[in-house]
Symmetry: C2
Subunit: 253 residues, 2 copies
DNA sequence: TCCGCGGCTTGACCTGAATCAAGGTATGCC
DNA sequence: GGCATACCTTGATTCAGGTCAAGCCGCGGA
């Protein structure tokens, strides 16, 4: 796929970030890069996209891109770094909804309630593109490619949100998490077998609905069985096929 | 809200079904009813919606509206009855994704993979409206109200899919299930405190990621505590406030 | 009427993972 | 350096809920 090739060329493996784009070549990590490239959109349309987007950042680790309860006004494409979406429920329990890599769109779950239903927190140095949603929706009526891409992203997020439904074991969850992350990096042209986890164990645990201690133990066991190698937050995947077999009930369905 | 008033007038409480609509008054249970009424759309647009919709059914309990793996071509609005979406994972485990009442749209999660990622099964006598998705998307470019409604529905489904993520207790899950169902009936103008569960205990259990035995036990306990009254598949909610308190960590966040 | 079957309930027991507790390690700040 | 803090790991213990087993109920068919 053309988009991947371009990404592979431009991205620096160590820290995912794209170029800034210009009038003719919009950000490669842009959420709509694929549309622009594939659709061969004309200059005026590209300019319109340029007009409605605002680069924002860098955010430092811990800073929030948007907050739970804020009025919805825009979606954000991650350009660099990792974003965690989370919320704190009524009695203080934290719930991590997801981790978002460059090229991914956050805030889509805010359209319906017309307010962000979660916090978006930078896990490292994060840069984003802000798309005013009313403007984007208007543009989408004139550019079917943009509309279609929005539908696809929304639809994909439904599937992703449902991924961890089902009563899976801690092993299945951890394996699916690692393989999933690996695949998403691979799609963006980054090395897929050496992962740097930008999130704390506690966040992973929370996202997977297991205890932090369980994450430690399972990673340990995977390492003891030679499936992965763990060095703090650096994890290399040694036997991805076997890991995939464990994760299969979650990923392949 | 006007839509609710109209629904309340037309729906028969015992078996949710709408009238068939005509050129000027589209089905009340139609997924886009609210748009048409609120937006005051013109006749030609209404006719276009009429042209692209196909009524289909009735389906008998157990019959499938669409199947996992089938090429995506349309979304369906439930007109009458209850639909269960489910899939069977690689090693035979069943996973219920959701239950869908009249007025709700199914198949939105199929846009991205361009294939239905689950089965849609009728739980009782079901009637649906079929909307060709390419036609609907095209119409949406000309009718911003339709586009917006699609965005909202997709966005809401993301939230719904994420609802049961998080490690909630069996009590919390059951309470949230009952309150959620009650609220959805109420929105459609049906009595909200006497529920007829069209799905088997096993389906509920599966949807909530607990064992069927646990569903029995928790319902029993809720009844013993005077929160609900259970008679087979008929459940009446006695103390909705207390039930809501239990469900709060899931529903209110 | 009886039988068979699927769905539901209840009790007894077991287990995966949570919780509790303690200690280790890395990092930043004074 | 020395300290504080946040994060991570490991072991011991506990428990919510799963699994197994048995029996009940309601319904359709012969």
């Amino acid at each position: 796929m053309a988009y991947d090739d371009i990404a592979r060329k431009h991205f620096a493996p160590s820290h995912p970030i794209s170029d800034d784009g210009d009038e003719h070549h919009f950000c490669n990590s842009c959420a709509f890069g694929a549309v622009c490239i594939a659709g061969g959109i004309d200059k005026s349309a590209l300019n319109e996209l340029h007009c409605l987007v605002e680069h924002s950042g860098p955010y430092q680790a811990g800073e929030k891109i948007f907050r739970n309860g804020e009025r919805f006004g825009a979606v954000f494409a991650v350009r660099a770094g990792t974003v965690k979406t989370q919320l704190v429920d009524i009695d203080g329990r934290e719930l991590v909804l997801g981790f978002h890599l460059p090229g991914e769109l956050i805030g889509l779950n805010a359209i319906h309630p017309d307010a962000y239903p979660c916090d978006a927190v930078a896990l490292d140095a994060v840069e984003v593109c802000r798309f005013s949603f009313p403007a984007l929706a208007t543009l989408a009526t004139r550019m079917p490619g943009i509309q279609q891409e929005l539908f696809r992203r929304l639809s994909r997020d439904i599937g992703n949100a449902a991924l961890l439904a089902g009563d899976y074991s801690a092993d299945e969850r951890l394996a699916a998490f690692l393989i999933g992350l690996s695949q998403r990096y691979a799609e963006r042209g980054f090395p897929a077998d050496t992962l740097h986890l930008t999130m704390a164990r506690g966040d992973i645990a929370n996202y997977l609905c297991v205890a932090a201690e369980t994450v430690s133990r399972v990673l340990r066991r995977f390492q003891d069985h030679g499936l992965i190698h763990v060095d703090g937050r650096n994890v290399s995947i040694v036997k991805s096929a076997e890991l995939f077999t464990i994760a299969r009930p979650i990923l392949q369905r």
